[in-house]
Symmetry: C2
Subunit: 404 residues, 2 copies
């Protein structure tokens, strides 16, 4: 029998370039089903459910939805709230009050945990209910996924940034450090390598949280590259840790701030400045600069991977399919089925929640300061079509006359 | 009589997204003239001339030049050397040795000064010589120019960044500070406003070097915006100064680094961090973040204004026209002749050299914390076609049921 009722969609966690594609995919697809009454969007994630702030997306125009789909960040607004059991009970109560039978939550693994808890309440009350977690994270750190929507576009931004940084240091010399997002997983930082073309192109060194960061080894690495090329381009994850597992960024600060999830707030700017000071004083080079990519890498308007965009749309549509056609709960995962092709599966929510996928060893070089070809093969399709490519002059040098 | 001889082209100062368009425009156009023997590219600006490092661009393929034109940063590499009289005498000597009769230098006002000095040596030796300065600077600070090549693309990057930052704070709240390049001129920081669309869009506050920065006024401004919108997006130029004319960034540091031109090295990251700390402690808001756009805003591969790209190409071509057809020296300027249309004039080198154009008063609001519509009218055409546009959901809210 068809399960009749309303749909609630919400977005949680940090923005991505394509999270609104997933929203619009789920909304447009849900609106096609007869058994669906209203399609509500909860404003500010689970906060919007608790506060009954629902936008009636059944009354949104298709054209406007398509424009929203192309807009980065979360059109339904987002939240950093990490709901506990009591919060999820309240969420479920509100969903039930609004005769919601289908709940789609777009977010990272914190969000998938929320979906799981809410779904448990529905089960315990024998309330027929379908709950789907739609994956999203620029960190690419959800288990059982080949990759996650949002990663490809952020990776593209990071790669395009490093194409520029590489050309900048080729033109003017010096050392450049780009500090990239990634608390535990190095995928986004690793994507700095995706714009490399010529053999001397940077980034020459890549440091990720999966390998312990040692300041002495780092200094020697930079020395070696600088000696070879007269310049050095470095990608550093803001989440790099020392051998004891302490974030390098947090060891620099007096008071360590923590967010609502208990995560240490990583101060990328300070990490970059610290590494710059260190290299300036150790290597006696004045032209050492660090940029921290910050919000730009996840919010910049106008840098989107078409592959990422289409997949984000599809996971949204699939949420509606799985829940409404198939009457099943779970988290949607992206599975690679060809070179390059993907398909989507639904996995148990508890398989995704509160787990973090890290870069596999085969993507990291033995020295722990760069990526492998296996990583490049993995990530290249994800950044999409028409990546900018740098080109160099290659005409011959003219004869010198001074000493003739 | 036609002046027969070789051409030397060089690039100086910081990279832009379109400086190679000017290079390629000048090279391709110069190669058409019978009186031109070889078209040389000096590697690393004036350093390449002194060291006789000339690439023979007569032997570069047209296809490769077109690929180079689309590549950001300086394909001939660049230099931060600021030549004195003795250096320019040596430059002239080398140019004469290579039978160079046409010298094109692409750069900012420091580069125009170099062109002037070299040209003076040619005059004093009665050596027939044409020297043209081709404008380039993301800072948009050359006098007698409506705007300069490089600015439009950098402005587009800054505007697209702020579209994202605005959406980010709308979704998650808080205060965001973007620190933008600009030592003396606020044009690039002001361009943060070019992506605004809805009435509550940020940046809500814009601070530029043309107006004294006062920390108390700043704090009150932020308070007012935060009270109104529950969030605040701020664009700050890295070159902001206090009432005494001291850079805010430099007042924070113990040792102030200076570059080869005697300019204080602006530590944008530290400026951002300082403003964040200040606002966090004064306003008791935890979600305050700063990004410093750093190299990204001038080197990012794949964010180009088509208008800027075409104009950069044209100033390169015009350099060849002025020098070879018209036998005149000078600096090429961009002049606005319509809405939107430009034409190019040659002005005396000494009119450009070592002068800095600032934002005119009519582009700055009376409070000194934002731009005017006159600025938006001025700058909008420069960022080119197909700017990304953000869109919001506008469907009605659903009825709340809890208190029914």
């Amino acid at each position: 029998m068809e399960l009749k009722g309303n749909v609630v969609i919400a977005q949680g966690g940090g923005p991505t370039a394509v999270i609104n594609q997933s929203l619009v995919g789920a909304v447009l697809e849900s609106r096609k089903f007869e058994q669906v009454g209203r399609v509500y969007g909860a404003v500010k994630g689970v906060e919007g459910i608790i506060n009954e702030n629902f936008i009636d997306l059944t009354q949104e125009t298709t054209h406007n939805l398509e424009l929203v789909a192309k807009t980065p960040s979360a059109a339904l607004l987002s939240t950093r709230v990490k709901p506990d059991h009591a919060y999820c009970a309240e969420v479920f109560k509100m969903l039930k009050l609004h005769n919601v039978r289908y709940f789609f939550y777009i977010g990272g693994n914190d969000s998938s945990d929320t979906v799981r808890l809410v779904n448990d309440y529905a089960h315990s009350e024998n309330y027929e209910f379908r709950a789907i977690h739609i994956p999203k994270t620029v960190d690419n750190d959800l288990v059982l996924n080949d990759h996650t929507p949002g990663y490809g576009s952020a990776a593209r931004f990071v790669a395009q940034s490093f194409i520029g940084a590489n050309l900048e240091t080729r033109a003017l010399g010096g050392i450049y450090i780009g500090v990239v997002m990634g608390r535990h997983a190095g995928f986004l930082t690793a994507s700095a390598a995706l714009g490399k073309k010529f053999s001397d192109d940077g980034p020459h060194l890549i440091y990720i949280p999966e390998r312990a960061f040692d300041l002495e080894n780092f200094t020697q690495d930079v020395r070696d590259v600088y000696k070879k090329y007269g310049r050095c381009v470095i990608a550093v994850s803001e989440g790099i840790v020392n051998a004891a597992g302490q974030p390098i960024a947090s060891t620099l600060r007096k008071g360590v701030a923590r967010d609502a999830h208990g995560n240490v707030e990583l101060a990328g700017g300070q990490l970059g400045d610290m590494l710059v000071s260190h290299l300036k004083s150790t290597m006696n080079i004045s032209r050492v600069r660090a940029d921290t990519f910050g919000y730009l890498q996840r919010s910049f308007a106008g840098c989107v991977s078409d592959v990422d965009m289409h997949e984000a749309r599809e996971v949204g549509e699939k949420a509606a399919h799985f829940a409404i056609w198939h009457n099943v709960d779970g988290s949607i995962t992206i599975n690679r089925t060809g070179d390059y092709a993907v398909d989507y599966k639904l996995v148990d929510l508890k398989e995704i929640a509160a787990k973090t996928r890290l870069m596999p060893d085969e993507y990291i070089n033995p020295a722990g300061n760069n990526v492998t070809h296996a990583f490049l093969d993995y990530a290249r399709p994800l950044v999409g079509s028409n990546m900018p490519k740098a080109q160099m002059l290659r005409a011959p040098y003219a004869k010198q006359l001074k000493n003739d």
